[in-house]
Symmetry: C3
Subunit: 383 residues, 3 copies
């Protein structure tokens, strides 16, 4: 990791609250990129579905009779009624039936029946398939992409970040606990908060006891000027304190270790993977936590946090399980409060942009990523 | 009734939520057409008033000393204060008195007193009459029209639909029960729902038991390909099932029949009249029901439902009366849920417009009516 | 005072609800003029602070180590976080510390510490002082001004209105009671209500018993056509009724008189000073009342009312104190209801503007003042 070599300006302040700019970002990022919307165990059987909300859009994700994930806009092709009335459910008999006029679709989105429709004129069923949305999965996570033709495959878009988690059997894990939280801030404010640890010394005392490096306000030992690698394996990555094993309030856990992790991952106690901007994953020797983000408006965002475990572990270790929730819950609470304050302060008419310090290079990279997305989207719109 | 001969596109999806288009419709329809706002028995005596809300406008409807209905914007000519503070009331002494500075108007809207005003300069009372609104009544229903010069008289605008109800003594009926309901949908979504019965088989099982034709998803036997008139009187109109007499949960009623109905109307058990887009009326042998609609915003509408009876019937038949409410209440509940789902689904970025099937010709006619209104309003604005 | 010599049009109706015009007024008035935000005793000690909300802006007002008032936007120069989380508090140790990344400012707004920041590149503390806001005080009232260079000093802007209160020791008074009230109306509606007494006969019967002139709907005897001064001192100003002494429900008070008032002020029982448009003050022989106004949106305003007394009086005269609140509370309640009705009526599509009567010259002067502000702001924006 290289630090910033001088003060860098942040994004313009009004990008964090202007409704027109928010729409521009919906089109450039959220309706164009792969966005994580859930876990494959949430739709375990053919016909199970979830409905995710991204910006103003609602997307149904289900599983067809072969078990393949499918995604559709939550809109009937007849007169546009929403198809699903709940955020989670099951389509009986492999049929998606519109609650308004009973137009009936297969789990592949093909219109297959229109009961009571009078048969006059040139009606072709094939003209009225559901509006499909690209869907793919990785590590048990379901991603959708609203683009007509996604710019890259899901796996390409995940890039080397996914490799970080190679050692964990993500596919086989299941969500043992889920929490949702709405924050009164722009989505970028939350992602910037995630991107840096400069705020850790003040905001996260409990976390800093578990990960001592964070007391220094950096994400990597390599950020510190006097750092030298201790061996070939040492890239400066953060670890839990000596004697501790995972992220809990006291850094200890009585859950069984996830099988198959190598020695290094067990010793580190933690590994991060960022999938800008819809999810990040924090993997520990005994559990994995994912945090998903979906924008709700220029000044609103919804978080979904899942605690993932091998099947059966929660049930067999109920007492131990309860202890793994507390640290992350506290950190999220602390970050949420900070994000909402950040949002408020951005409204000053004097504040055109802020400034980034050296260890906020990760924030600057996020800003560069976003600026490129906006340029790319504008170019696509012109062509 | 003629069916559509092929799939027809619906109105553009964004006409159902775009605030700018909503304003266009307010000006082209709601501020230009005759709009039903209540019953004449709601303002039984001179000086009685109601205040109706149409779009962003509030209109006072009262009755002058001769008993003629009068309507005014709820705005004082002095500094613009609202005159009425409640949606229903009485102006004592034939005087409309502004609660702010006591400017006092006659029930004809003439400014007749301005207590405590210092008499200097060129103040002419005749310059400050209330902003009047055209008002007329038919069948006991009060209609207002915000246009400077209405395009047609009220009776012309009601057209042949009013003739359907000729047999009912609408003028003499009184509202025995009123309900209001706010729906989270555009006004057109509700009107389209009213326009067709394609949704009846799924949505309205109770109603389909009373009106068996509706099980086929059509509004008229004439819509069915194999239909042939049984006699000269048979135009295919829907009727209640053999042995039933009216719209109640079981199709029966112990209320007295309204006097003067001919045999055909008693046998049919039902008759519809549509006054696009502010009201429809369903008339039965024993009672009449009116449903009024007023837009509250791009995605909101208010319904007012009245159950009308000859004077004294409710009081004399309290038990029987209770039974006539249930079926319509259930149908409205079912339709309301469908309308709100329809509104949600229209927001998909892929959904530009829906499609109409043959028996939705009535929806298509409504769309044609609206398109003509918008063109007419644009032309008027250019001249 | 001169009366209007003929009917004058009010401001255009849409200026009272159009969001774009509201923004224009924020820039022309509220972000350009001196605005009263509180009392100096609210920040008694160095480091005490209040946070005021004006339009979309939040301003911190504090007192530096020398006791001088200082004001800043509630925004950290780093990434824009809000600095203060409460509307009232104390900065310990003379340090303003951002709750997000601990950037630390002096009470003068200088950046003096950035704990844990990695020292790389060209970071100059002097580039990141807090965004300062002009602040000054008069009579113990704190005013802020968001302009880069205020058009006038605070004292110049207060003008001769401030002289009216010369006799009262405003600096030494303290707020014995404060109330806040949000009104659903544009800020101008409330200020217009304050500007005239034409509404008094109807709206304020209790007040009219205390100030008999108000029964005539004027603010000054000089407004009455048949008025002649009784002596050299008589300028027609309103006074409490003979035998009464102050503004309470019965016009009497058992609070001690404020020391140093001359005979005339004791006899009058009341004196008004208007500081358009953020505050007015009503001074009585025994207490002073200030009413501050801050816009919250095109159709919202917040009032803050303070009852001011010499230090210790409230504590020594608790029973008497309670009696001075009632009349003003009732008047404010009556005016608030009238203002909210006025706002509603302004929305009529027929209502382009209202009309002013002779004794509303003060409203007309307010309109002229505002029109000049808007012109001045537009000219400044062009240069």
């Amino acid at each position: 990791m290289t630090l910033l070599t001088g003060p860098e300006a942040t994004l313009p302040a009004d990008w964090y609250y202007d409704p027109a700019h928010y729409d521009r970002e919906l089109n450039a990022v959220w309706y164009r990129d792969w966005v994580c919307v859930g876990r494959h165990e949430e739709i375990a059987e053919p016909g199970d579905y979830i409905v995710a909300e991204i910006g103003t859009q609602r997307v149904i994700v289900t599983r067809d009779s072969q078990g393949a994930p499918k995604a559709f806009h939550n809109t009937c092709r007849h007169r546009g009624s929403a198809l699903c009335q709940t955020v989670r459910g099951h389509f009986p008999n492999g049929r998606i039936v519109c609650p308004y006029h009973t137009w009936t679709y297969s789990l592949d989105g093909d219109l297959i029946a229109t009961p009571a429709r009078l048969e006059v004129g040139d009606f072709r069923f094939r003209d009225f398939s559901l509006y499909d949305v690209h869907v793919d999965s990785w590590g048990g996570f379901l991603f959708v992409n609203f683009a007509d033709v996604p710019l890259t495959s899901l796996r390409e878009s995940l890039g080397t970040e996914a490799d970080v988690l190679d050692d964990w059997p993500l596919e086989t894990l299941v969500s043992a606990h889920q929490e949702k939280k709405s924050l009164a801030c722009n989505w970028k404010v939350f992602w910037e908060n995630y991107c840096e640890c400069y705020h850790c010394p003040r905001l996260h005392p409990e976390l800093c006891r578990v990960v001592p490096l964070y007391r220094k306000g950096v994400l990597s030992h390599a950020d510190l000027p006097d750092w030298r690698p201790q061996d070939d394996q040492d890239d400066g990555r953060p670890t839990v304190a000596p004697g501790l094993s995972t992220w809990t309030i006291d850094g200890r856990s009585t859950l069984p270790a996830i099988e198959g992790l190598d020695e290094r991952h067990r010793a580190d106690g933690m590994a991060f993977a960022s999938f800008t901007a819809s999810m990040f994953v924090v993997a520990h020797p005994d559990y994995v936590r994912s945090v998903r983000m979906q924008p709700l408006g220029p000044e609103g965002v919804q978080l979904t946090i899942d605690w993932l475990l091998p099947p059966g572990v929660r049930e067999a270790h109920a007492d131990s399980f309860g202890r793994i929730l507390g640290l992350a819950q506290r950190v999220i609470e602390q970050d949420s409060r900070a994000c909402e304050l950040n949002q408020q302060g951005l409204k000053s008419i004097r504040h055109r942009h802020g400034v980034l310090v050296p260890q906020e290079r990760t924030v600057w990279e996020f800003h560069e990523w976003l600026r490129a997305k906006l340029v790319g989207s504008d170019e696509a719109a012109r062509n």
